[in-house]
Amino acid sequence: MLGLLNSRRIMPLPDTMFCSQQIHIPPELPDILKQFTKAAIRTQPTDVLQWSAGYFSALSRGDPLPVKERVEMPVATQRTDTGLTRGLLKILHKQLAYKKIVDLRELQQKWKTLCLPMEKLKFILKMDPVEDKVEWMKFLALGCSALGGTLHSAMKQACEILTEDPEGGPARIPFETFSFIFTYLSGLDPDRTEKETILFLKNLEETVADRKEGMIGVSDFFIEDKKKLQYLAI
């Protein structure tokens, strides 16, 4: 900050400056500073400079900012695994969701802005290798599965990221999205057969279609899963 202001000194000050009251502060500056500070506090980037660069470039371009919506307490395992958290995934989703297909380089750029380790990105992408471009929803699904260990917890994460409901409420997403993600993930999972997947989805669809206008919430399949587990005696 002072560096910036030092450079200011080189810029011509008015000749006759006698007292501190003559120093002029641009009126937008406090606001920008405040927003930036709040964003930084909320996002808690490990490398503030890196992130700030990303922040300001996104701000200057008018893109969605790499800012978390809510303060997230750092998870204990954050340093050991991908370092990805739900909030960070949400940021990525916010920034990249409008494009269906995302350029890999851009993804890397955004990944770096969030101060996440690059190996981890490669690790995630290894699950479903692509070359140049990746479909965003698929990457999101992979990210979710990286967050939650099991398929169902991954679906839960996906619901909560994608939902438009207020936080804490029933995290509902349209059934097509849900089924797409679910099919994709269960397709990657070698243990589950396609038939199981289809059956499961069909069951869910019946319960969902008539009552909830085609939106599926966390409670629908999470509980469902428990019942199913009991039933299958897994």
């Binding site: 501190s20 500073l33 409420g169």
Partner: protein, 405 residues
């Protein structure tokens, strides 16, 4: 209306002694709204200047006013004595004082001043007004400034441009405020937003839970309601069934009873019908309707003929008897007869037999329906039918009584 406490001779008969007892002033202006029957004392007030009790003049040579309350009787007596003595002394003095003789008639004594210099005796005291005036207080004038004598050396200097103002130093407080305030403010705001968001989240979670539970409750209620309805329906069904069973049992009972009751209805009906002759053997009926009346009619006729015969016979007999009687009477007149009644009997019997023979002959000429053998020749008079029909049994005596057929 002051009270003077006797200083020199305090006789505490009570707590206090008074020259005049204190009493409440009776003010014309009522202090309270009504006076509760205050005793109407005569109002004593007057000018204090003219109150005899107020001591004027020298107070150091006066007799102390004796206390009027509870005076010691000895003291009282002594006082009286003193008074009398004083009075006596004064009278004595008066006596001894040389006085000028009384004025002559038409003259009057007048007091005259005889000193060298006449003194004006005036009632009015000469008064002189004296005045005195002081000046108004003046404020204390300010102390003059203390200006010490000048000491030291005079030195001068000159400031060039750009020397007074150092940007870095000047800007530091501003920066501190700017940055510090920014961080502080943003931190506060973030915390507040966080708190609000957290509250919202908790509210939402609670809503969710509540909705789920509500749904559960509703489901259970529905279930319960359905159970109730089901129970109701089953009960209704059962009741209906019971009712039907009852009805059926009653019907069966009624039926059985009716059957038993009406079991011998038919036989009795038929019996009574038969008794009343509704079932008849046609030939029997025929006999009864056709034959028997005819038979009766025939019997009637026969009997009538019998009767007629008998009557005729009777008449004959009577005539004969009368003729014979006349004859015999005629004879009797000539010869008295003895066995009149015996002859009569024998003759009657004979005439009867004669009569019956005649009848029998007559009857043979009549057309007969031979159901039974008609024995026309018999000794005693018998009916054409056998002895079965008792109705037609007639005694000889009966016949004889019938005079008419």
């Amino acid at each position: 209306m002051t009270s003077t406490v006797a200083d020199s001779s305090p006789r505490p008969t009570g707590t206090y002694t008074f020259a005049s007892r204190p009493r409440a002033l009776n003010c014309q202006r009522r202090r309270y709204r009504e006076c509760f029957g205050a005793d109407e004392e005569p109002v004593h007030y007057g000018n204090i200047m003219y109150d005899r009790r107020v001591i004027r003049g020298n107070t150091y040579a006066l007799h102390s006013y004796p206390p009027s309350t509870q005076p010691d009787p000895v003291e009282l007596q002594r006082q009286q004595e003193a008074k009398r003595k004083a009075l006596a002394r004064r009278r004595a003095r008066e006596h001894l004082r040389p006085r000028s003789p009384e004025p002559v008639e038409g003259r009057k004594h007048v007091d005259v001043q005889t000193e060298l210099y006449l003194e004006e005796l005036a009632d009015r005291i000469i008064e002189v007004d004296m005045e005195c005036q002081t000046d108004a207080f003046l404020d204390r004038p300010p102390t003059p400034l203390f200006i010490p004598a000048k000491t030291g050396k005079d030195v001068a200097t000159q400031i060039l441009e750009g020397e007074l103002f150092d940007f870095d130093i000047e800007v530091k407080p501003m920066l501190e405020v700017l940055v510090g305030k920014t961080i502080e403010q943003s931190l506060l705001e973030v915390m507040e937003e966080e708190e609000l968001a957290e509250l919202q989240k908790q509210q939402q979670q609670f809503e969710e839970l509540r909705n789920l539970e509500l749904a559960e409750v509703q489901r259970l209620e529905e279930q319960e309601r359905r159970h109730q309805q089901e129970k109701e329906r089953r009960r209704e069904q059962q009741l209906q069934q019971l009712q039907k069973q009852n009805e059926t049992a009653q019907k069966i009972a009624a039926r059985a009873y009716a059957q038993v009751y009406l079991a011998d209805l038919i036989p009795s009906v038929f019996g009574s019908l038969r008794d009343n002759g509704y079932f008849y053997d046609p030939t029997e009926r025929d006999i009864e309707i056709g034959f028997l009346p005819w038979l009766m009619h025939e019997v009637d006729k026969t009997i009538e003929y019998n009767m007629v015969g008998r009557v005729v016979l009777d008449m004959l007999i009577r005539e004969v008897v009368e003729n014979r009687l006349n004859m015999f009477e005629q004879l009797a007149v000539k010869e008295p007869k003895k066995t009149l009644p015996d002859n009569k009997d024998e003759e009657q019997g004979e005439s009867f037999t004669i009569g019956s023979e005649q009848f029998a002959e007559e009857q043979e000429s009549l057309p007969t329906r031979s159901f039974q053998d008609v024995p026309p020749e018999k000794d005693s008079f018998q009916m054409p039918f056998g002895d079965n029909l008792d109705i037609f049994d007639m005694k000889e005596s009966d016949v004889s009584e019938d005079k008419e057929p």
